[in-house]
Amino acid sequence: MASGHRAQWKGFLKFGEVSCGVALYTAASTSERLTFNTINKTTGNRVNRVFIDGETEDPVPKEMQTKGFEIDNGQYIIIDPEEIAAAVPESNKTLEIEAFIPCSEVDDVYFDKPYYLTPDKMGGDAFIALRDGMKKSKVAAIARTVLFRRMRTVLIRPHGKGLIATTLNFDYEVRSSKKAFEEMPKLKIEGEMLDLAKHIISTKKGEFDPATFDDRYEAALAELVKAKIEGKSLPKPKKVEVSKPNDLLAALRESAGLLKAGAAKDTKPKRTAANANQGSGRQRAARGAASKAASSGAAPRRKAG
């Protein structure tokens, strides 16, 4: 089914003694982004990647390459790539459901990539019975199989007429929220302050459909490339819009100050648009992460999957 799309994986979905033929299709991908090549500025030619010995700088042909695991700085245990491959069990092409868990218990922090899971022509009846049973019981399924050269766990859940299988990150790749927030001061907000915040939330309640949110950097990049190709004048550096500082926080801080009347006078500087970038702790934290990630933005990409 799903004609016109290329399946990432084909196999069987098995629950109990029932199995049906299924296929996985990439549900989210960045492969439609503009792709760039690395060019030698001085000649305008593309660059090629070659592999050389780190010490001697001589080229190392493919057959002379092997794998190594670093035990000490600069010390390696050589491991034959075949031995590594042997550690990957042969795929039985079967997503076997090991357990059903209540949807409310799913820890989404483990989510990696989503795939649309669809039945093949033969498997339709079992597939839709599973879909509807899971919907009614409000559960998601945990299944495992060899997928993309790794034994992976996927979370399967009903979605519309189909199922979505999300690959999950491994336990050692995820820091639990419990652990991350361990050091947080135990503040419980109650009473007037909570009411006030709830009131503010109620004035900002709305809906948000991520489907309508597009990548404006990508659009600007496409425009830039177009202008360059056509030899047109380049888009002017945009006048940057500066967001207002966080109204909610400011309002809450102000009210927090009022509630603590009598306590030490509020000496915090007034937050205005002018000092928006001076920042509180949260702002600093966001800045660090954003600038770290900034370098990876428009690098040439290979297709996902």
């Binding site: 069990p89 039945p119 033969m122 839709i128 419980k188 948000f208 990630a293």
Partner: protein, 249 residues
């Protein structure tokens, strides 16, 4: 703000030169002249035609750069279950990092919790401006970057051929099976057996320091037949098998 996921614990192999035992590194050479290209001479190019590239300089790229605003400005609050899972891209943990922020942070967190809502904001991450969702969890806030609308493929074209209604007799049986196989979420479900065997392999090598072939490799089960003749029978069998298993246990 710190990412909730990291690849740092993953077993990583390097490519070595068999002859010298040295690391193999990659180098960029000019595809025409064959000469190595220095880092500072590398630039991004968009392929206009064969072997014809439009070069984008750093200045060009700066023209389209988005301003990074350091404030997470919550634009609105939406029901917690209204954001489809398929849009969740990458989780980060958000915490106040000075005492002044603690209370304001806790106020937002607890008010969102009490109302069953999450906050929606925008944030420039890795050059791109992303919609982000702030979700209260435990004593902190999980900040999810969301995928762009045009990154998620429209589901309709994948699911359109699937039938709407299941056989009403089958569903209760499936539900029975679900009940029997019900479990609770545990991080054990996302263990990595291959990483474990790789680590074992490395350990053996370390100890013996002489190569030995591993006989490892999982058992291969034959793939089940695709055309289960009677789903009803199979479901019944599953339910029975499970019950027997329980009695025996």
């Amino acid at each position: 703000m710190t990412p909730a996921t990291s690849e740092s614990e993953k077993v990583r192999f390097y490519t070595l030169n068999k002859e010298t035992g040295n690391r193999v590194v990659s180098q960029y050479i000019d595809s025409v002249t064959g000469k190595p290209v220095k880092d500072e001479n590398e630039a991004k190019g968009y392929a206009r035609g064969e072997n014809d590239y439009v070069i984008l300089t750093d200045d060009d790229l700066d023209r389209v750069a988005l301003d990074t605003v350091k404030t997470i400005d919550i634009e609105k609050f939406v029901p917690a279950d209204s954001i489809e899972w398929v849009y969740l891209e990458k989780p980060h943990y958000l915490m106040p990092d000075d005492p002044v922020g603690n209370e304001a942070f806790a106020v937002i967190r607890d008010a969102m919790k009490a109302d069953g809502v999450v906050g929606v904001s925008k944030l420039v991450m890795g050059r791109r401006e992303r919609a982000v969702v702030l979700e209260p969890r435990d004593d902190g806030i999980v900040l999810w970057s969301l995928r762009f609308g045009d990154e998620v493929r429209p589901e309709a074209s994948y699911f359109e051929d699937i039938e709407d209604e299941a056989d009403p007799d089958l569903v209760p049986l499936v539900q029975k099976l679900i009940k029997q196989k019900s479990s609770h979420w545990s991080p054990n479900m996302v263990s990595d057996p291959i990483q474990t065997s790789l680590l074992k392999l490395i350990d053996e090598k370390k100890k013996e320091l002489k190569p030995r072939k591993t006989a490892k490799g999982g058992k291969t089960e034959a793939a089940p037949k695709s055309n289960v003749v009677n789903i009803m029978d199979a479901l019944r069998k599953s339910v029975e098998a499970d019950l027997k298993g329980r009695k025996a246990g």
